[in-house]
């Protein structure tokens, strides 16, 4: 055994290997992060004109061309989109539709946006591209000409066939960018069969809920549950309460980052029932995610769950026999300004990238999706309403029927919140703070104070482009 100093000359094979491996590993954490940022050289898309335009071909789609359509395969599945492909090809047999579906819209589509994007992208789900960023960067195409085009298989224009709010939901900076194909109603779901058996009356006000809660607990059930991992689930309920209690203008002011918008009288009071729900331990313990919490509800561990109308389709495989999924409106308080307004709107938005090679065919495909035939298939397959009128008329289903009934009794104004689409920072903060409030780590007052501070920070940040909501 000898002790020798380490000199470059006698660098042993082992040391060399160690060093090389270290250098290789060194690159690993940085490589993933750095290469995420790198793009490729942009290429100019060429637009060599289209075919003649007609009523059956309003955008002048060329025969023999191909259109690449990317579908988000989430709670609604993708079978409905395949049906739309059939509808489309019935009118345009010589246009090839290359359809693919994924859950990773942003991961797969974002890198292509600046160079060679798909023609039509369903920008939805947790991994979707930030809408304001897409619009501010000029990455997606305004689709106002789609609205004025004739409807695929009905009277009037495409705009005439859409449910209220659909055009407004897809409009930003005065232009129509996002074609939402689903119509979602949010609220508190319960199992009507169970309520009938127990003789419980579904509450409409917070007082009725707090009166019913002890009876539910006595049966060994938690009164309420929601996804506690994705902050936008509890956020729906919080904003429904604010809108119902203080009125539409309060939420518009919040969306517009108006000075002191969160400090308006009544907002704290509107959120206090949620604080009380946590404090009284009426929530199912545990931080469950969306499918876990929905399954817990289906398993009878909780009486109410707040989520949208995609619920039935998402949980289709595990709904127990005899379980009647029924949607009821978010609860209100006596003296609320807009107690009858329902949280509903269009969602699951399609966008056409500005650099898409076959934008005409993309718009034509949208026309097919919004057709009567396509919409009816959508409602039938997903048990959710399409964003066109009358899509659910022929579907027999308790969940869809309760959503329909809720919409029939609703007032003209639909509850909607825009700032999460406008500002990514505020979206994230509001999700985080909603989770904190529902975990009992914030009071309603603290939640409001922190939301005001977060809104002020965005309002002051000159690097963030500001948006305006008018209605």
């Amino acid at each position: 055994m000898s002790v020798t100093p380490e000199k470059p000359g006698d660098l042993s094979r082992r040391i060399l290997l160690q060093r090389a491996a270290a250098a290789g590993l060194l690159a690993v954490p940085a490589a993933g992060l750095l290469s995420a940022c790198a793009g490729s050289e942009p290429s100019k898309s060429d637009n060599n004109g289209g075919a003649a335009k007609s009523k059956d071909n309003p955008f002048g789609v060329k025969d023999g061309s191909a259109v690449k359509v990317v579908i988000f395969n989430g709670g609604l599945g993708d079978q409905w989109a395949k049906e739309d492909k059939t509808v489309f090809n019935a009118k345009h047999p010589n246009i090839t539709v290359n359809m693919s579906s994924t859950q990773k819209i942003k991961t797969e589509e974002q890198p292509k946006m600046a160079t060679q994007p798909s023609d039509l992208v369903m920008n939805s789900g947790a991994d979707s591209m930030d809408r304001s960023t897409l619009i501010n960067e000029g990455a997606i195409e305004p689709l106002d000409d789609l609205l004025t085009a004739p409807a695929w298989d009905g009277e009037g224009t495409v705009a005439d066939t859409l449910l209220p709010g659909t055009v407004g939901d897809g409009t930003q900076n005065g232009k129509f960018y996002v074609v939402n194909v689903a119509y979602t109603v949010w609220g508190n779901w319960y199992n009507a069969a169970l309520f009938k058996k127990e003789g419980w009356q579904a509450p409409t006000t917070w007082d009725e809920f707090f009166a019913l809660a002890p009876k539910i607990k006595a049966k060994g059930m938690a009164p309420y549950v929601h996804d506690a991992v994705h902050g936008y689930y509890p956020r729906w309920g919080l904003f429904a309460s604010i809108w119902k209690a203080v009125g539409k203008q309060a939420v518009i002011d919040i969306d517009n980052l108006k000075d002191g918008a969160w400090k308006v009288d009544g907002i704290v009071a509107a959120l206090e029932p949620w604080e009380k729900m946590v404090k009284d331990k009426l929530l199912l313990p545990g931080n469950l995610n969306h499918t876990q919490s929905q399954q817990a509800w289906l398993d009878g561990k909780a009486a109410f769950i707040q989520v949208g109308t995609w619920l039935k389709n998402e949980m289709a495989a595990t709904i127990p026999p005899g379980f009647e999924l029924t949607l009821s409106d978010y609860w209100s308080n006596a003296g609320d300004k807009a107690a009858k307004d329902v949280f509903a709107g269009s969602g699951e938005g399609f966008v056409v990238p500005s650099k898409a090679p076959n934008k005409e065919a993309a718009k034509e495909f949208l026309r097919a999706i919004l057709s009567k035939a396509g919409s009816a298939k959508f409602a039938e397959l997903t048990k959710s309403l399409a964003s066109t009128k009358g899509s659910g008329d022929n579907v027999q289903d308790s969940a869809l029927a309760s959503a329909n009934a809720l919409m029939k009794n609703a007032s003209a104004d639909l509850i909607s919140v825009k700032f999460p689409d406008f500002y990514a920072d505020l979206d994230k903060e509001s999700q985080n703070l909603s989770e904190e409030l529902m975990a009992g780590r914030l009071t309603a007052q603290q939640f409001v104070d922190k939301m005001q501070a977060a809104a002020d920070k965005v309002a002051k940040d000159s690097s963030i482009k500001k948006q305006t909501r008018t209605a």
Binding site: V3, A22, V28, L33, G39, T133, P285, G286
Partner: protein, 313 residues
């Protein structure tokens, strides 16, 4: 002849080097370039903004928070992983009975080696998904379910694990729970690494130590540890890189990917949000470049500190 050798070597190396330059070095350079622009990531328009993004980095509160969380992992991941791996390797190789057959590991050490190494063959995301079930915060979670059955955890108040931001020793609990996973999944590999190093230590050194009356404690600290110094130092550098990443665990395991309420935010999660949610690719690239520089400096420092006379057997 020498000429031929050179051609032979060049022939073998040209393609890998070209691929490496194009797919690794070039994207790095591009990212560094983008970090000096205001590129949003969705268009091909960008403006040169100089070092603005780096100046902004210095005053970004979220980045500062993420940085300290990374520093926490940087200290704890190598410390706990190496300590555990050394302990296991010692037991498996020299911790057993001392008899005439000389030095050996504890009974069944071959089996233990396989078991401890097993997490290494799983991808980190698989590990994270598995631990989601272990950490699940109702009675269907492996830990919560068991503890509820034996009455140690109140079903009304389950352990929140990665949804728990309450500080423990000044660090949010969620980071400690993530640390446990990182150590569990890493220790096996380093145990094998240290085992190999220990087996290359001549048995006669141990026998001499035992003859002189050294117990397990002294053999470990006076013989094994000094002779493993070099291997441990390399392990420390590797684990440092892992600690600076940690992205997969944070992404899969924590609410709102960095939550609850930023309690588990790390460099990579802030970078991901800045690039893909906020659409500020230029700024996000600046974060990536800053992290890369930090990593390189750290590795250089680490290798320099631990450089020392080498012992040959």
């Amino acid at each position: 002849m020498r000429h031929g050798v050179a051609r032979f070597v060049t022939g073998f190396l040209a393609l890998p080097v070209a691929l490496y330059l194009f797919y690794v070095v070039w994207p790095f350079a591009q990212a560094a370039g983008y970090s000096l622009t205001d590129w949003g990531g969705y268009s091909d328009s960008q403006h040169f903004v100089g070092l603005d993004n780096y100046v902004r980095l210095l005053s970004d509160e979220l980045i500062r928070k993420a940085f300290w969380h990374n520093v926490f992992f940087l200290v704890t991941v190598p410390l706990f992983t190496i300590a555990l791996a050394l302990f296991l390797a010692f037991l498996l190789n020299v911790g057993g009975r001392e008899d005439r057959a000389g030095i050996r590991g504890v009974f069944g050490s071959g089996l233990y080696k396989v078991i401890f190494f097993f997490p290494q063959v799983l991808s980190l995301v698989v590990v994270a998904v598995m631990w989601q079930q272990i950490y699940r915060s109702d009675n269907q979670g492996l830990i919560n379910g068991l503890l509820m059955k034996v009455g140690l955890v109140d079903p009304e108040n389950p352990i929140a694990f990665t949804a728990d931001p309450e500080p423990f020793l000044g660090v949010p609990a969620v980071l400690w729970w993530l640390l446990l996973i990182a150590v569990w999944s890493g220790a096996g590999f380093y145990m094998v690494l240290f085992s190999a190093a220990m087996q290359s230590i001549p048995k006669d050194i141990y026998e001499a130590a035992i003859l002189d009356g050294a117990g397990r404690f002294h053999t470990f600290f006076k013989v094994t540890l000094p002779l493993l110094r070099e291997t441990i130092s390399v392990a420390w550098v590797y684990l440092g890189f892992i600690a600076l990443d940690m992205y997969a665990l944070v992404f899969v395991m924590t609410p709102s990917q960095g939550g609850p309420n930023h309690a588990s935010e790390i460099f990579a999660s802030v970078l991901n949000f800045t690039a893909f949610q906020k659409g500020q690719f230029g700024y996000a690239c600046a974060m990536g470049v800053a992290l890369a520089i930090f990593t390189i400096l750290l590795a250089a420092l680490q290798l320099r500190i631990t450089r020392r006379d080498r012992i040959e057997f």
